[in-house]
Symmetry: D2
Subunit: 394 residues, 4 copies
């Protein structure tokens, strides 16, 4: 397909084209809905400031609604040779409605268009993750209430250390997720500003009503400085990914515990067969792959974070095409985290503490500190009490 900027005769080298757009078209495919929503808001605003007539607006809205419909039906698909979704949408509008299609890009650059679509996508995903976090916190709370009174060993240095309980163990995850939610909300807030109208990063000599489009799109505010709209690329993504890292750290800790505590040697928990898988060679095996694959996810998103921060360093202000490559780690990380929170909930709901095994594992030496503190209560200094108890074990 001819590019927006191509004059007749000029031609981009096809290998270069494949390198530049290959994987990116698949990512655009997930963003088409948000690009249409951005265009709808932009068209309404262009009408409001007198650039589009009422009729032109109707045509464009009809066209964009049609694309949304086709998209939903799986019939509006990026193909190799397409430059990007923005061009494909403009071409569709021009093809079906004529000259008016050429008006949709007035006062806009693909630079602010892609920022807008990505922010809207993130907004949706972050809200979904927050909802799933609430569900997971709810499940941990139920677990806490149901099993909290069961005693279990507490570990330090991977060794049994002091008496603990399911209440302490599961309650820790609740507090952890609550902290994670705070940081997630901060990320959602940083993301919640409209870049639409910043054009290529320097505005345009037209009186665009940026507050109006921001409101139509549900953004909390306008990202005022047009150059910062570009310069925040790589930074807002980093804020979002860092918040996802926290969530996945909490999940990693839970999954790491579950992996250890379901070994034959520990047997602190049982899991239902609906969350276990088997081996192709060992008939007897039932593995908890789910916990392993949950454990790995924080590392995936850490790497994605590294990509984004590393990539956006040492670059001057303004649009740099390098940052197209932030799209993949961003979208991927949001999806991974959303799914991880969901299946962590499934894992938790299929986890049953083995009360007998847990309490049997509370062996006597774990009460050494308590015994020392009993001496303290009788007036001995702690360090002397500590040494007294320690000596008993000689």
């Amino acid at each position: 397909m001819k590019k927006l900027w191509q004059k007749d005769g000029s031609k981009l080298n096809p290998e270069v084209e494949a390198f530049e757009t290959g994987g990116d078209l698949l990512l655009d495919q997930r963003l088409i809905k948000y690009d249409c929503l951005g265009s709808i808001a932009h068209a309404k605003m262009l009408h409001r400031i007198g650039i589009l007539s009422k009729e032109e607006l109707s045509q464009l809205l009809a066209g964009l609604t049609k694309i949304l419909q086709l998209y939903k039906q799986g019939k509006f698909n990026m193909e190799m040779g397409d430059e990007d979704m923005h061009t494909k949408i403009e071409d569709y509008l021009t093809g079906k409605y004529g000259e008016v299609g050429g008006k949709i890009h007035t006062g806009r650059s693909r630079n602010d268009q892609i920022l807008t679509a990505v922010r809207l996508y993130c907004k949706d995903q972050l809200e979904s993750i927050e909802k799933e976090l609430d569900i997971l916190i709810g499940s941990f709370t139920k677990f806490f209430k149901k099993y909290g009174s069961i005693k279990m060993p507490g570990f330090t240095h991977m060794q049994k250390a002091m008496p603990s309980s399911i209440a302490i163990w599961s309650g820790g995850f609740i507090e952890s997720l609550q902290d994670d939610k705070k940081t997630l909300k901060n990320a959602a807030d940083i993301n919640n500003q409209s870049p639409l109208g910043s054009a290529a990063g320097y505005g345009v000599p037209l009186k665009l009503d940026r507050i109006y489009t921001a409101k139509l799109l549900g953004f909390a505010r306008v990202q005022n400085n047009p150059l910062y709209c570009q310069n925040s690329k790589g930074k807002i993504e980093a804020v979002i990914l860092a918040s996802l890292v926290n969530i996945l750290q909490t999940i990693n800790k839970f999954a790491s515990d579950v992996m250890l505590f379901t070994t034959t040697e520990f047997q602190y928990f049982k899991t239902s067969s609906s969350v276990r898988t088997g081996s192709s060679i060992m008939p007897q095996k039932k593995n908890l792959d789910l916990a392993e694959l949950l454990r790995s996810k924080v590392h995936v998103v850490l790497g994605n974070y590294t990509q984004i921060v590393s990539m956006s360093g040492n670059l001057i202000s303004g649009y740099n095409r390098d940052l197209q490559d932030t799209k993949k780690p961003l979208l991927e990380s949001l999806e991974i985290t959303l799914n991880s929170v969901k299946v962590t909930n499934i894992l938790l709901n299929n986890l049953i503490p083995d009360k007998i095994a847990l309490e049997a594992s509370l062996t006597e030496e774990m009460y050494a500190t308590e015994r020392a503190l009993n001496l303290v209560k009788k007036g001995m200094s702690f360090r002397k009490a500590y040494k007294t108890i320690k000596a008993e074990d000689l």
Copy 2:
């Protein structure tokens, strides 16, 4: 020095000891003040709940105040053979005041002690960084007001693109820093919870008044779950470092611009000689090393973030000594960021736009979009106007 836990006769291999504590003692040296503050609060609380008599409290407070004094004078220094600062402080107290020294550790573990000291350190550093950010925002605002009206080229793909101005350029950094401040405040809030009283991660069978110590230490709240106090290690550090990464991303962008815009080919800005350095071989050179060394810092903290997140993955709940190695990247990153914000301010205050060079660089082709939009104002569709202007350049 004998370790707290050593019985007579047992001995740690000296190479193992050096490996385990070597670099860590230098880090502890920076935390001694905060460990004393934590101990002062803990002692007051032990008195309040009846474990220390009034006299014992006085002795301990006198001892801890003395250590603070010696520390300030550079006379309380960690040495090879010391186990850690906690032990050194307890030993000092016992050495000078006898048995009462052995009471300071009642109801406490080095696990919650180090958490407390590190949190207090972070609290201080984060507040300092916030103050320096305000100063830097103030400087950018002055710069914006003084030079804002000067026109300059706006770049995309590192090529001149559209007319911009010092106002747009410098204003972008103001908004960026304001966003960074939000994320920094979130990090400060997550850090602002007291782990003191969580002991080894499972509490103790004593009625410690954790709200009281939290208040004495200026924490906003108690970190309630004792196991989460341990499990948040590696996570709170990650939240803090991610917020520092953002600040350093903004600084990196500024420094990258300054590096390009002060080349002979651009000459958009002049710098005063107090921020430039020379060459050992080339008599004519004056380099802006400062901007280069500012540019590098985001990468340093990114690597430190990677250390912390990677290190804390795949570990079970509770204290793991591995995470001692989070101390260095944490302390280093806070110091790097604090210093970077300070010297960015110096760089900015020594930067003068070259009005003549800037405006001369606004060449005609940069107004192509404006010309296209003039056609749009006369009723042409944008895409047609774009093509019309493009054709002129044939």
Copy 3:
């Protein structure tokens, strides 16, 4: 599809299944060829050691060849519900050829099967990259010969420093790529060992002829220790990715230079229009997106490296399902690097030095060191000569 290990009645939760296999099936799709090659070698070996009859071997070879054919025609595709390619292939064989299909897995685990397929894939890709590196070195050598004599400024601190030449500039990339090739060959060598026959990581009580399968598959040697076959997962990947990082660092340097040297302010090089793209809003622009997208790739692979090393840390010996998530960053990084080397070659072949601009930029102050050294030749100490020349500029 029923899993190999499923008994009637047991059922994996479908969300869990999607989480565990979702993205992985797409990756398996790229490996099917190599899994079939591994199975062919394994079948031949089973015949050789008397476990398969001649007829059984013929049937299995016919089936595997058929799959390879279907695969090539795009007719053997992983679908949601499939467990993995290994199971799909075994099921196909059993479905078409009956009981003999159930023999292909004798003495084998999916653990060594996937290792084998991935190693073969890497072997192929590493060889392709090496070939493309040779082509690129060839192009740089041609460039060096054609334009080497043109003088150009050499930069330090992004400032003009001393006289240089196209020979020095382009020759630097040749030496860089030669070093990169060495490290790539080391990675290829580390990868070039056959894990087939290690089964689940502990061998099997059958006399498998591992040397025979290694030879059939073109491996340089057998990876002898069965547990190390598993434990090297995450490590061999790291060796490979680190070698790709080097190549992409060289390309990043080249692309960074090209980006700067093609700005209007520098104009050291011209590029042909077949490697440039346009803007959707600014009619006048022609951008070198290609160089930007080459610049970003080292950061992508750095992040992938981080994923792999971070993910494989703190895990015990033996198969851990976590490491399934190394597959994506590995395959992606190899493809990115291969494509990057190819299009770097295209960029280089479309780059023309602007002799006039380059030589005009060699301004007088760049000869200051030369002037100082002329004084040295007359007997002055270098430091005094340096100061003499420096003083002239007062």
Copy 4:
């Protein structure tokens, strides 16, 4: 101290100076020896090509030897206000020997000087690491011979899977370290080229004999292209660190196993008290902190690798001061790895398998695959045999 490039009257802002050199002086302190060795070789070469008289050479060699002596005695120390070690050394020579000191920098830049010192440092450290690896491989071999015949369970998914042995377990580490040694040698080879004589990155108009200095310094070859000497900064460091990552991955795996296998629940191994430490609060505890602190190191070096690769991206050819910040992660990583290999050896030498516990843990279900293969030997297809055995467990 006055900088080499300072004219009277000009002054660097002291905060800027502290920012630029602060931490770096401590690193230079470790490199002084190597900088002197580089200067000795350079002086000899300057004499050989007729720039220094015999007497001048004697004076400089006397001075440099004196510095080496003072350094060894701890009397030649970098102090705040020093610019760097190169300047300090030149100043010392000039101060003690007059004008001849000003000749040592003839035909040299601090750019090639620091490269040379760092390469020599790395050369030494890499050789030491290789030696320690050989010692460690030796210890594993002894362990293998002494205990190899003891049976132990093999794990997959952290669950008991198939029968294994100490031979398989410890043998895996031997092969792993052998692979690591190969990659280390490749890194040592890439590092083993002399940058001396490349000056600021563009050579000098003097006939320096680079082959001669390379030989004097023990380098395998000259790094020919002067610009590549600079451009390889960040890349050679990356090659080195990637090779260290591999070693630390192997150590991490060993330490992870040891941590699990020494829990009360497993008790597969005992350790001697000389490698364990105690708790400040729990009298009964004996922890294996050493294994935890070994486990953490791969993550530290991974972060350092990230710093270096990220920092050196998106920068143009030639010296960039940013890369001064590669020095710390490089030196630190080499020291960490050297120490880690040493103490891993200590840990291994203090590890004793508990034969009774190990063999008792080989429970019956672990022989399920063997039982299936026994059916295979009687002619049943593997998949059918697998299902037969699986059904028994119903």
